[in-house]
Amino acid sequence: MAEKISIALKVNGLEQTTTVGPRRSLVDFLRHDLGLVGTHVGCEHGVCGACTVLLDGRSVRSCLLFAAQADGSEVTTIEGIGTHEGLHPLQQAFRQHHALQCGFCTPGMILAAIELLRDNADPSDEEIRVALSGNLCMCTGYVNIVRAVRAAAAGKVR
């Protein structure tokens, strides 16, 4: 029952070929097997959104996927969207607008926002709030998060 399953997937552009146990979640695979600890583990039952990553370009809860299911897919995590020197415009906007305090929810927020802005280049505040409603933040009260997403959408990021 504990047999290993061979998987091959792309994570942030790099090919990864390895084996995993059936019950290895995608988020544990990313954090423990690949050392990509930017994706956070919050509730582990699909409520908080902290573990949001992009799977073949679509936002997903990585705590609700088994790593074996990601075989053949392309995964993008927070580590894959920008660098320390060249932040992604949404990362830059979050920094500029004080859209994070403790930062725990931020990777999930940003990946959810990337998907939103790809689908809808000019969202209203209401559309931003609905799109991010599955990502919980215990610090900010969300106002500055909405502001940051709006700024990134408008290209107003220094």
Partner: protein
């Protein structure tokens, strides 16, 4: 979920990743209730992480071919069991020909949930406040089930039997569902009350109605979720609409009948009387919205 649990990892299981429906049916035949079907995993995997569900064998449908079609026929919309909720939301043909389905889907969870969550998974999970089972009941949907023994079709009203309980047998697979298309000119609305967008509805309603050439209502559907173990149609309220002319007082009367017809449960989210009150308010609002969306009616 109110469960004391120090490990948030599922119990051990064997994972099967078949590629054809026949392989799935063979696995279901072999393992029966020792196996669980994994579709989008947005309800099952949380239950597994809490160890409220401990399937020994998990049959993953995500690589199975032939479960992802969206096809319109003369009187039905046929949807494969593994169609993602997000694909319904983004389908231009559904937005045009069955917009109430899109409106319902937009209230399911959040984008990341809908990206994975499937039509079939939600229908079979049968949460009493879920939007897709509500629509299945409102639109007289037909469920197409297959097993190694036989293929059969079940009407939505017979499919839902109780709290999280359906007519599906342990060796059966939901392959597709047919939603019956309402009359082309009808008004429609699916609305709900939830604490936060995407949360489970406290009460959800779906209404559709259409008028004949004499302006009198000749088609009416009023379905409610979250007020019992399974979604239900309120035929007494539908009957109150049939044969009548559209007017706001009529909507109020039908809503009152709707509120009086339900026997809602009480839980941590809402009392029984509040759910009854919400049923009346939401039915009345939904009827008014549906009227505003009727085609060819001024």
């Amino acid at each position: 979920m109110g469960v004391v649990c120090f490990t948030m990892k599922p119990a051990p299981f064997a994972l099967f990743q078949p590629k054809t429906i026949d392989e799935v049916l063979a696995l279901l035949h072999s393992y029966g209730d020792e196996a669980k079907i994994l579709a989008g995993g947005q309800s099952l995997v949380p239950l597994m992480n809490f160890r409220l569900a401990q399937p020994r064998n998990l049959i993953d449908l995500n690589r199975v071919e032939g479960l992802e079609q969206i096809n319109f026929h003369d009187h039905t919309l046929s949807v494969g069991a593994m169609v993602r909720q997000r694909d319904i939301e983004r389908s231009a043909s559904i937005a045009e020909r069955l917009p109430i389905l899109r409106e319902a889907i937009e209230q399911v969870g959040h984008p990341a949930i809908r990206n994975r969550g499937t039509v079939g998974g939600s229908l079979v999970h049968a949460d009493p406040s879920a939007e897709l089972p509500l629509l299945a009941v409102a639109l007289d949907a037909t469920f197409h089930l297959r097993s190694e023994r036989a293929s059969r079709s079940v009407a939505a009203k017979d499919f839902y039997q109780g709290y999280l309980l359906t007519d599906i047998a342990p060796d059966e697979l939901l392959v597709s569902i047919d939603f019956h298309l309402p009359p082309a000119n009808c008004g429609w609305c699916c609305t709900e009350m939830a604490r936060r967008h995407g949360d489970f509805a406290i009460v959800a309603v779906a209404v559709l109605f259409g008028c004949g050439r004499d302006g009198r209502i000749d088609f009416a559907r009023i379905a409610v979720g979250g007020v019992g173990p399974a979604p239900l149609r309120i035929t007494a309220a539908e009957d109150a609409l049939l044969g009548e002319l559209l007017e706001i007082e009529l909507f109020r009367r039908a809503a009152d009948i709707g509120a009086q017809s339900v026997e809602p449960p009480a839980d941590i989210h809402a009392s029984s009387s509040y759910r009854r009150h919400l049923t009346g308010v939401l039915v009345r609002r939904a009827l008014a919205t549906a009227e505003s969306r009727m085609k060819g009616y001024v």
